[in-house]
Amino acid sequence: MIVELLIALSVGAGLFGVGLYGALSQTNLVMIVMGVELILAAALVNLVAFWRYLHPDEPAGQMFVLIVMAVMAVEMAVAFGIAIARFRVRGSVEMEEARELKG
């Protein structure tokens, strides 16, 4: 069983790496969101793996997963909301062109 746990956690690590690369390298807000989604997905995998192999009798572990899923959805909604607003004002959601956001 421990091998499965390690496989699952390694997948989580892989997704985290890919997501981190994506979030940093992409120039477009929407693509950055995809990177973040992958990072959150890595968290999901880890949470489920921990629940399954460490605390299967603890439903709170599953509760965590639900919360992370909710965070994914919420993050997307807000990010796309910002993207629309940004695009309306500036005609672009490229982060390089969004520099003045940082002030």
């Binding site: 639900l66 909710a70 919420v74 909604a77 796309f80 629309i84």
Partner: protein, 120 residues
């Protein structure tokens, strides 16, 4: 039947569909191949040969709904487990979910009042 074997059946069925479709394609291929001719591979647009690519930044007019949907959709994740134990828990479940849904419905009402629920 254990749960894992059920998933295995579902997985096998999915693979089976691919097999079925591939064999159908093979049969069709046995009948003949498509012949390349001028104009044939251009997407059909009502008798006009329109060679322009159409993959463009598409203006989805339902973006407002889509935004609300992204968030509102999450509600189901909580509702299903709740529904399963609803009769067991009784009134508390009704009240609890009532509050939760009321909160979400507030968000919907806000979006509605601001004009998210219309064609943009």
């Amino acid at each position: 039947m254990s749960e894992l074997s059920q998933y295995a059946i579902l997985f096998g069925l999915s693979i089976g569909v691919f097999g079925l479709v591939l064999s159908l394609y093979g049969l069709a291929r046995a009948i003949g191949r498509a012949r390349a001719e001028p104009g044939k591979d251009v997407p059909a647009t009502a008798g006009t040969l329109s060679r322009d690519p159409v993959w463009v930044r598409y203006h989805a007019r339902y973006a407002g709904y889509a935004l609300l949907f992204l968030a509102f959709d999450m509600e189901m994740a909580f509702m299903y487990p709740w529904a399963v134990v609803y009769r067991e828990e009784g009134l508390i479940a009704l009240l609890d979910m009532g509050v939760f849904l009321a909160i979400l419905f507030l968000g919907l009402l806000y979006g509605w009042s601001q004009g998210a629920l219309r064609r943009q």
